[in-house]
Amino acid sequence: MSPSVRLQEMIRVIRSARTQGEERGVIQRECAAIRAQFRQADNGGRSHNLAKLLYVHMLGYPAHFGQMECVRLIASPRYNEKRVGYLGAMMLLDENQDASLLITNSIKNDLAHSSQYVQSLALCTLACMGSAEMCRDLASEIDRLLRASSSYIKKKATLCAVHIVRKVPELGELFTPAARALLAEKNHGVLHGAVILITELCERNAQTLVQFREAVPELVHIMRGLVTSGYSPEHTVAGISDPFLQVRILRLLRILGRNNDTASDAMNDLLAQVATNTDSSKTAGSAVLYETVLTVMDIKSESGLRVLAVNILGRFLLNNDRNIRYISMTSLQKIVSTDHNAVQRHRGTIVDCLKDQDASVKRRALELSLALVSAINIRSMMKELLLFLSTCPPELKSHAASGIFNAAERYSPSQRWHIDTILHVLITAGADVRDETVPNLIQLITNASQLHCYTVHKLYRALVADISQQPLVQVACWCIGEYGDSLLQGECEETEPIQVTEDDILDALETVLQSHMSSPATRGFALTATMKLSTRITENVDRIRSIVSIYGSCMDVELQQRAVEYNALFKKYDHMRAAVLEKMPVMDRSSMGPTNGESGGGGVQELEPTKPKQPEMMVAPQPASQVCDLLDLLSDPDEPSLPGGPLGPGGGPLGPAGLMSGSAGGDLLYLLGGLELTPTPTPATAPAAVTVYDKSGVVLKLSCERPLDASQTITLTATNTSDHDISSLTLQAAVPKNVQLQMKAPSGDSLPARSSAVVTQTVLLNNPNK
């Protein structure tokens, strides 16, 4: 029985195994037999045993014990054993295995073998798994084979040289002369290999690139021959003569013509010829055209040629074949920034592709559509994009949403349109938008003061309809809190007014508060909005009080803190409530982020202390004013739970201050001990020294500087104009958790009388989150 039937018999047995366990058993028995056979002396069936082992290896079982057998078989004089041995080497040995070095010598011998099929085995194996050392050892052999051998061996040697150059780039210089000579070959296989070798050499070495630019006319000539030649049974595929070689030559021309005018000029005619004459009804022709387009866009081609290339891509967009539509969009994506107008012409087709069935085509169409949005087509594009958003697959939703926001921000024709668009996105895809959408939208709304009425009506309707989309609910709560009075008035020019009573609004907010779908941040928004309404509405203030006091014992610490503070606002500070809950001023973009360098107090009125402490007289003012300054640093632009953002400059808004201190850490409040600081108007420019304590002749001044963006230096200057010396002067400072404090040594700790000396101390504050 011939041994190869035994191999097929084994395969049949393995396949007929009904369970995984049975298969494992069969394979284990076979492997044991194979191992025993390997240990025996030379018998006729060695190659078949190795073949069986390779099959077992392909099924996923370990076969490392066959590595030495591969080495032995490669060294055998028989062709069939060599063949299987080399196959085993390519499958089991790679450059990470130690045994691979052992075959270097065999390969070297086989490269000089009399039979070209043995030579080809060695070349193939070297090109597949040759390590860097093997390549170095055998490079000269390969070079010899490149020059003088049959075309069968030359083509393999060329690709072997390509592998060597990839592994050991320095050896590229060895092959350059031979590569140049190979371009004169007629055999397509050798020519193909030569073009690949030259491509590899040019990509790695700039001087070689310059050298090979002289070969451009020769390449153009070869290419022209291919394009104009008639049918050849050897090489024609679907009417194209040797598409593989054509594509490779085009790629090489691309590399040679890049950034070089002369080379690009030499190719212009050829590229135009290829672009017009190639028949793209089948994949082969499309492949050549695609490569041509890529080459035209990459070299310094003339504008007529570029337009031709973009038109080819446009034609591809209409092709029935999905693959061709996909690659045309990929290419259009690459050139949309440079040839924007040319691509704009195909906008209609691209937008149609948004409705394609294929997810990858959809993704490409989305990216391309976003890139094509401009001030002129914004309205129609946005319609299409919003339609797409409602039907797009979930993995594309967040990308689409952020793309729409960017486009709206850059090109929106009016504020109302902008707000409408954002609202639409929030309603459709609210769960997938990014966190900074909420503060951005709020800022946009406050800036569009004439649209407050319209906005709040729309948002109220959306809120009543659906409270599951968190960003939408957050924005809606904030707006209702701020502009609830416009909602109650019931009239609005821009949209249909609806009759809303105070109870309706409070019902809506309470639903949000109690719903299990609301996140803690959303609840925070809703609670604050309820509180703000206490100054906007007239009749149901008691209801608001009761809501707020319920949440005073809520499990969520954030909500509880807010509720407790609002309760205090009702009880002890009712006189301040109106001032605290006033409407927010218009924010500008820069105040959303870190506040600019003003520091003279920040103009904030601090509020309810919960535990009035009596700090030492000397020490108290300093931390208090430091608290004011610290609050500048505290503004964290990415906090979505802050409705309305950070402290703005200006003495007006007190609402945010209260909320800010609430979220930044209750300990700030404890420091204040009932102090009231006069709100100083914030200078927008240079910080001035602020007198924070002036009593009995002792004057304490704090001045702030901001040397770096995130850190602030505060200098305390103490002077004593009284008649007594003051000793043991210490500065204590406390900061919230996310701010770093570094106190330098004071210049002294006693203040002599009558201003004879001054004590200074510097404190460094750093907010890394800023």
């Binding site: 392909m58 690709l159 193909h192 595929v237 594509v247 695609y290 693959n323």
Partner: protein, 154 residues
């Protein structure tokens, strides 16, 4: 350049694997699992190109086998489809109406044909007839060797 070529059935059984870059065993197994999962999950009317890590994967289904080729990012995907098609044509010419069973029972011949068509991750011969002739000649060489080996020695 091509990084690997995989053939697997619709049930995910591997029929042929050719790696053109050195990859550790464990990594190979993981890649095979990932590829199989990704390609088999594709719906029928989608395009034949996938993005995977920093490479492009081109796949095509022929009867019950999926041919899966991973290429560099700057390679021409349409040409990769042509390469797969050419390989199938070569197999078809050699085996005569090739089917999956032919590849299962004669896997080493499938490898030999592949080695005459691709080397080191690139196409070595662009003519179908030349490849077919070379395989025939190698087979002839092998057969004469085997005949010689199995002749009784007198």
């Amino acid at each position: 350049m091509m990084h690997f070529l995989l053939l697997f059935s619709r049930q995910g059984r591997l029929r042929l694997q050719k790696w053109f870059t050195p990859t550790p065993e464990r990594e190979k197994k993981k890649i095979i699992r990932d590829m199989t999962a990704m390609v088999l999950a594709r719906k029928p009317k989608t395009c034949n190109f996938l993005h995977w890590m920093d490479q492009k994967v081109v796949y095509k289904r022929y009867a019950s086998l999926f041919f899966c080729l991973a290429i560099d990012d700057q390679e021409n995907e349409l040409l990769a489809l042509e390469i797969l098609h050419r390989y199938v044509e070569l197999l078809d010419k050699y085996f005569g109406n090739v089917c999956e069973l032919d590849i299962i029972f004669n896997f080493e011949k499938a490898y030999f044909i592949l080695d005459e068509f691709l080397i080191g991750g690139e196409v070595q011969e662009t003519s179908k007839q030349t490849v077919a002739r070379c395989i025939e000649a190698s087979d002839m060489l092998q057969e004469t060797m085997e005949e010689y080996m199995s002749k009784p020695a007198f």
